[in-house]
């Protein structure tokens, strides 16, 4: 049995404290990541929601982009929600020209595709292989418009995938950190556990 998984939460901007609270609640050990040296103490990484343009600028100015890219290519498990999913995508539609992403999962995502804040919504989803509905909150959410053959859909809404996985990468259009239901975070911690023991 390994020690409690140390889950880095990218804390440059956005909903990082909400993610850290869920990780703590389900028995993980959350660590805020703001500088490259913080990555040394992480077994996995969560990229929260927030503004993806702001985060990509801060990734550069904090000199975090390249070290994170190295961790991800070495197989560190990562979970991106909303803006975090945009940062992981192989292709960003309607992004800014200077916006860089990690190309960690083979999906095309369109920023703010579900509309502005007045269109933001909450709804029930079906998780694959789980009869219990999952309540999900979408805030100015990005939409997955294409995905590669190695990407598995774990939940969809209105004809589009909203929770996907490929190898050690998970990504969600919505915000599992804003509800009391922690199944999605548990799924990620299980993923971290399998990768660690492989």
């Amino acid at each position: 049995m390994s020690a409690r998984a140390r889950i880095g939460v990218l804390a440059l901007q956005g909903a990082f404290s909400a993610h850290a609270a869920v990780v703590r609640r389900i028995g993980g050990d959350p660590r805020e990541v703001r500088l490259p040296r913080h990555l040394d103490e992480c077994d996995a990484l969560i990229m929260p929601g927030g503004e993806s343009t702001t985060m990509s600028k801060l990734l550069e100015s904090s000199k975090l982009f390249d070290p994170i890219a190295e961790c991800l290519s070495a197989g560190m498990p990562v979970f991106g929600t909303c803006a975090g999913m945009i940062l992981l995508a192989s292709n960003v539609l309607d992004g800014r020209d200077d916006q860089r992403s990690f190309v960690a999962i083979d999906i095309d995502v369109r920023r703010n595709a579900y509309g502005r804040q007045v269109d933001s919504f909450e709804t029930d989803l079906t998780l694959s292989g789980d009869a219990e509905p999952l309540h999900a909150v979408f805030i100015r959410a990005p939409r997955i418009e294409r995905m590669g053959a190695d990407v598995t859909v774990l939940a969809e809404y209105d004809g589009a995938p909203v929770l996907v996985r490929s190898k050690s990468v998970m990504a969600a259009s919505f915000h599992p950190e804003l509800t009391d239901d922690d199944r999605v975070h548990r799924m990620f911690l299980e993923l971290v556990d399998t990768v660690e023991h492989r």
Partner: protein, 296 residues
């Protein structure tokens, strides 16, 4: 596939956007060009208005909601959320801003109040509201009316952080005391704060406000932003502080970095170099009109 329930404008959805803005800087802008500079610098949102508070203070007269065309120009210029201000109690200005599709409405004391007794009934809206507060009672009254985000008021347009510090310390200090109070004392707290008892009881249990707490009113330097964050604010609004300074773009970027790395004095020192002069600012005994006294 089956169509699920689809709910917009719920408190959870409104507070959700506030949650996404944490650890960020929201910048006042008066033109699409300024909005682009703000986005380029890493702002998490812009506040579209016709005059920054320092100019409203200088010009006097009645300050109102901005021209819809100007707001739309700014919406078209950037991809980050756009906020706009309505006068306190002016629910029709708020209806117009919601119809324009702004992402957040600031029911703001910087504009001239439209109602001397009533704030907007914010529960009736799909769009989230941010409101100012000088103390915890005021914050809880705004939350009970439906505000999804609270900002300490400070004193807008002064470039002077002293009032923001006073308001943050008052709000957070009282939260801290309430978490130490026993259940009988909470009735007295609700009475003293003139705030709904269930909200006071909730704070005693959770140790924090029901919504995020940001800081506004007087931030002019990266160190000011980090001060607000270390005192417990979760994001900062910068009004006149950026575009009334000598060189707005580098100052905006420096304030963004200081807000993220607010506990790291070495980074704050590094980003504070060579920014040119900040806005001149005014001391409190020179202030003719205290905006923070507006609202009740």
């Amino acid at each position: 596939m089956a169509q699920h329930d689809h709910t917009t404008g719920s408190m959870r959805v409104q507070r959700g956007l506030a949650e996404m803005l944490k650890g960020g800087v929201i910048m006042d802008v008066v033109t699409p060009g300024q909005a682009k500079i703000a986005e380029d610098a890493g702002a998490v949102a812009v506040m579209a208005l016709e005059r920054v508070p320092a100019d409203i203070r200088r010009d006097g007269g009645v300050a109102r909601m901005s021209d819809p065309e100007m707001i739309e120009g700014i919406k078209a210029a950037v991809s980050i959320p756009v906020m706009a201000k309505a006068r306190i109690g002016h629910f029709v200005e708020a209806q117009v801003l919601e119809a324009l599709g702004v992402d957040f409405i600031d029911e703001s004391e910087v504009l001239t109040p439209a109602d001397e007794a009533h704030h907007i009934d914010k529960l009736k809206f799909t769009v989230p509201f941010v409101c100012g507060a000088t103390n915890l009672g005021e914050a809880l009254r705004r939350i009970s009316e439906g505000a999804a985000l609270i900002r300490s008021k400070g004193e807008a347009g002064t470039g002077n952080i002293v009032e923001a510090v006073r308001h943050l310390r008052s709000i957070i200090g009282d939260i801290r005391k309430i978490t130490q109070a026993d259940s009988a004392e909470l009735f007295e707290w609700a009475k003293r704060l003139n705030a709904p008892l269930p909200l006071v009881q909730e704070i005693a249990k959770t140790g924090w406000l029901q919504v995020p707490l940001f800081c506004a009113g007087g931030i002019a330097t990266p160190a000011d932003a980090a001060l607000a964050m270390q005192l417990g604010a979760e994001s900062v609004f910068v009004g006149s502080g950026i575009f009334k300074s000598d060189d707005p773009a580098p100052r905006a970027k420096a304030i963004v970095e200081a807000t993220t790395h607010f506990r790291d004095a070495h980074i704050i020192a590094k980003v504070s170099r060579k920014l040119g002069a900040p806005m001149t600012g005014i001391s409190m005994d020179e202030v003719n009109q205290r905006y923070a006294d507006r609202g009740w």
